[in-house]
């Protein structure tokens, strides 16, 4: 029997504000952080939240991760002293693209001023593993440390990797999450060129009028600990991370497999890993991007994985409130799911109004509601899928 893993701290920086509290409170109230068609972290000021050296030695995606990690570790009670040996603490932070803002800035310098003016900080800022390295360095985490790269599933893969690390005994704790800051001219143009982003600038997952995703930025970080170690030091778990399943579509460079088979297999794998059945699921935090293809194939996947139970389960998308945070999405959504379970609430799919044929699940319109009590500790799935056919699903349970 592998070790149970609990979540003892969460942190987030999102378009709804700095802090996990802003994310869950404002989302549950049906608010949106999207302004002018973008999910920008407008309240985030690196100069105010980080020291000068840390701020100038990190791309914005790493800055977001550093602030989310500090919040998560503070909540876990790691503020003053790390409660476990440094060598037993890992760190895995995913990203879809990494420091694309730095790449664009340095390319401008290369073109305009020549190779000799390119910054020596270019590489350490732009590399996709920068956030994991920076968080480990800041908090003295000396176990396994790396980044995951699987487009919009990267955050969920990072959490799954941390879960396995602890279950396998390679670490007793792991700081996991995802970070992204790609609201740059090149990234915006490239996503628009493939008709992935919303021309209307409205994120309305599962609604018949949806026309693409709204780009967002942010970071989510969770502290995972072996349950015995966490309870032994008197920590209060926020939730249990009970299962993880990951698959590939092996189908197309961007489009999901239409039947949702790969996604459904990941959902089934996560449930089996947790020792749960479809009937145990009380909430699905959907990938729900607001693209025509994802929301259709994801609905098919949920029906395939949960069978008849699918129509009884509330399904909502965090992206309705903050847009698509790409490589940070899975982590931010795991943070939101953790807090939803802890508080016994189901946040809504903000703005959902119009049903489309076959998209006939309970998408939780308007306002959040209470999480139904079905005679057991509530169980939730959090779905993440990425361009390239990557599917990663987490199973979380109320502590």
């Amino acid at each position: 029997m592998s070790r149970r893993v609990v979540i003892t701290g969460v942190g987030a920086v999102t378009p709804l504000g700095v802090g996990a509290e802003a994310l869950i409170e404002r989302w549950a109230a049906g608010e949106s952080g999207i302004v002018d068609g973008l999910g920008t972290c407008r309240e985030f000021d690196a100069a105010e939240l980080l020291d000068r050296r840390a701020a100038r030695r990190s791309d914005r995606f790493t800055q977001l991760a550093l602030v989310a990690a500090a919040e998560a570790l503070g909540q876990a009670g790691w503020d003053d002293a790390r409660p476990i040996a440094a060598e037993r603490a890992g760190c895995v932070i995913g990203t879809g693209i990494g420091g694309i803002g730095t790449i664009e800035d340095q390319h401008d310098i290369l073109r305009d001023r020549g190779a000799g003016s390119v910054s020596p900080l270019g590489v350490p800022l732009l590399m996709s593993n920068a956030a994991s390295g920076a968080v480990a360095m800041r908090h003295g985490l000396k176990g396994q440390c790396y980044g995951t790269v699987s487009a919009c599933a990267a955050g969920a893969h990072a959490i799954g990797a941390g879960l396995r690390m602890i279950q396998h005994g390679d670490a007793d704790a792991c700081v996991v999450g995802g970070a992204e800051s790609a609201l740059t001219p090149l990234a915006k143009a490239a996503f628009a060129a493939m008709a992935a982003t919303s021309p209307s600038g409205v994120s309305r997952p599962f609604d018949a009028r949806r026309d693409g995703f709204v780009m967002g930025e942010g970071a989510g970080v969770l502290v995972l600990e072996a349950e015995g170690a966490a309870r032994g030091r008197g920590a209060t778990p926020l939730a249990v991370l009970s299962g993880y399943g990951a698959t590939a579509d092996a189908h197309h460079i961007t489009a999901p497999e239409p039947s949702g088979d790969g996604a459904a297999r990941a959902m089934r794998a996560a449930l089996a890993d947790a020792g749960r059945t479809p009937a145990d699921v009380d909430y699905v935090n959907a990938h729900g991007t607001s693209t025509p293809l994802n929301d259709r194939s994801e609905t098919a996947a949920i029906k395939s994985a949960l069978g008849e139970h699918a129509t009884r389960v509330p399904v909502s998308s965090t992206k309705s409130a903050i847009g698509h945070l790409l490589g940070a999405a899975g982590a931010v959504e795991a943070v939101a799911t953790t807090l939803a379970l802890q508080r016994g609430i189901v946040p809504p799919t903000v703005g959902w109004e119009q049903r489309e044929d076959d998209l006939d699940l309970d998408y939780v319109p308007d306002r959040g509601r209470g999480l139904a009590r079905n005679g057991h500790a509530p169980v939730a799935l959090s779905n993440s899928f990425g361009f390239g056919g990557h599917n990663a699903v987490l199973c979380l349970e109320a502590a």
Binding site: S117, L121, P124
Partner: protein, 81 residues
């Protein structure tokens, strides 16, 4: 490019070190870069500033030789003069 005095160079180097994150109160001519937590990446940036502002080229060997704030100011001022 106007002729730079040693005072000009010293002021510019101090500004750069503060921007890099060094403690302004700890910056003196005798201060060692290591003690200021200024590393080789910072020194490459300092060399780029010297080139942009004073037309002074500092090579990798030069950067390996300078260990204190004063040595950096002297080297840049000498070549700028």
């Amino acid at each position: 490019m106007p002729i730079a005095t040693k005072e000009d160079v010293a002021q510019r180097v101090n500004e750069a070190l503060v921007e890099f994150g060094a403690d302004a109160d700890a910056i003196t001519p005798e201060a060692r870069f290591e003690a200021l937590d200024v590393d080789s990446l910072d020194l490459v940036e300092l060399a780029q500033i010297a080139e942009d502002d004073y037309g002074v080229e500092l090579k990798t060997e030069d950067l390996k030789r300078i260990e204190t704030v004063g040595q950096a100011i002297d080297l840049i001022a000498e070549r700028a003069g």
